[in-house]
Amino acid sequence: MATVKYTKDHEWIRIEGDVAVVGITDYAQTQLGDVVYVELPALGRRVEQGKEAAVVESVKAASEVYAPISGEVLAVNDALSGEPGKVNADPMGDGWFLKLRIADAKQLDGLMDEAAYNAFVEGLH
């Protein structure tokens, strides 16, 4: 069963072997409103933990999406260019952003599990 972890910037990361799938959480998409455009990185690019990996835009805002861990971009969700609304409709599934080859699995230790993330979001109000 795949492990899902979360960051304080509301990204999720699902581990499938040595590949990680990254997206933004339901809380993030609610805050953003209707997503109109997603700027995804080039294949093969190396992203660093905590640095910008993608940009997600709504009508009135643009937010950086930070890489939860370092790694090489293996795939990006091309479907988002025609249907950015998938990020709102299914943020944890069809609305995924990119897949990374995990560089250092130890970086996952610092991330929150689902319970910790939910508590974190509660505390934001």
Binding site: G33, D34, V36, Y37, E57, V59, N88
Partner: protein
Amino acid sequence: MSEWSKALSGFARDAAAEATISGNRGLRLEDPLLFEQDEPGRCGVDLPEPPAMDRLGALRREGPIGLPGLSEPQVVRHYMRASQKNYGIDMGLYPLGSCTMKHNPRLNEKLARLPGFADIHPLQPQSTVTGALELIDTLARWLKELTGMPAVAMSPAAGAHGELCGMMCIRAAIEARGERRQRVLVPESAHGTNPATAAACGYAVDPIPADARGRVDLAALKAKLGADVAAIMLTNPNTCGLFEDEILAIAEAVHAAGAFFYCDGANFNALVGRVRPGDLGIDCMHLNLHKTFSTPHGGGGPGSGPVVLAASLAPFAPLPWLLHDSAGLRLVEQAAGPAAQTIGRIKGFHGQMGMFVRALAYIMSHGSDGLRQLSGDAVLNANYLLARLGDLLTASYPGPCMHEVLFDDRFLRDSGGVTTLDFAKALVDEGFHPMTMYFPLVVHGALLMEPTESESKASLDRFIEVVRGLAEHARSGAAAAFHAAPRFTPRRRLDETAAARKPVLRWRKPAVTTREAAE
């Protein structure tokens, strides 16, 4: 459910009651786009037939351009109908914070159109345009006197352009000292053009927080100052409508660190004729002639953004310079002599002459006494709004405010989902242009109101009555009505999500279907 479909579900379907055969509703007249009224060969301008002449050969344009042909009466109707769908200050209060939507006197339009101003070319021999040079010089002297600064760059085309000019001069001055500084400090409440300008000048932007009183946190500012800070960009009064009362200490700290003090002059309407920014220790400041000095906003522009400069920055002012010499006024268009250290040109030609004429006419109409009265009335009007609305709406900071007053959306907390946006749209139905929304970013759901001195007390009282009524309505469980607003405008809420997801940025001829082609 997308935001758009949620919004749609809130609208009462009264289409049947309002249906007409034509789609017009009384005086509210619809019109197709120009391109949908095309008749090939039709023209609204009569021009003589040119002789057949072709020295262009293969470089001649072949094929149709695609421009529609209409007659003059059709074009006039098209734009008359379009104009009826617009709101302007000529029609009513436009309380947009930091925009200074004041009355645009028609005398200024008349004078700007005198052939001696409108029909002159920037590259005519200077001896044939001495009046134009004198006008620019006269305006420049007024601006220097009003701000208490020794020099002014007249050419920037708008406020943001003036900011760029000022920051370029600052960077040039620092480089001339043999230094390199990387950071610019910008308050979190700053207008977006400030950080955008700093970045365009090669600087990293470092934000300064506001304190609990809505002013720049002086301690935080001092902590951020250092040998690598080039400048601070400050708006005074700030975008919360408050005078930065520690400004003298700020200027001192900034200068002690070897940095420059850029002042965003968008809010000069609160101070004109009463306080000179030069006395506050600033090094440069842009003025918005289209705000403080009444040149019309024209649906988005043109503006004019002259920049007043301290002696330390004057040598770097952009070209052209206007100098007095033994022969009179002279435009200096090269980086030589006194202008040897100029940053160079930042636009074509000499500046927004048409706006100079308007602004000077406005300034002369007011004079020093009128300008002083103007800023007093502007500040009085804003404080009156605060006094008469502060019990129902939530003012972000205690008064007195300057020329604008900031509220936030705490008063809408128990409204069952009425947001600042919904409140603004309801105000539109009441016949007012909304105040500035969601700016500055330092409070939640900001509502920034700037009435200006052009509003009578009666006008303000009407506005106050409506705002109070809406605030009470919002708290009485009428969220659905607010979500449905505006109902009485030429168009109701528009789907901005679709516009951004699938941008359609020009008209295109609809494709002919196979069936149509066959007929």
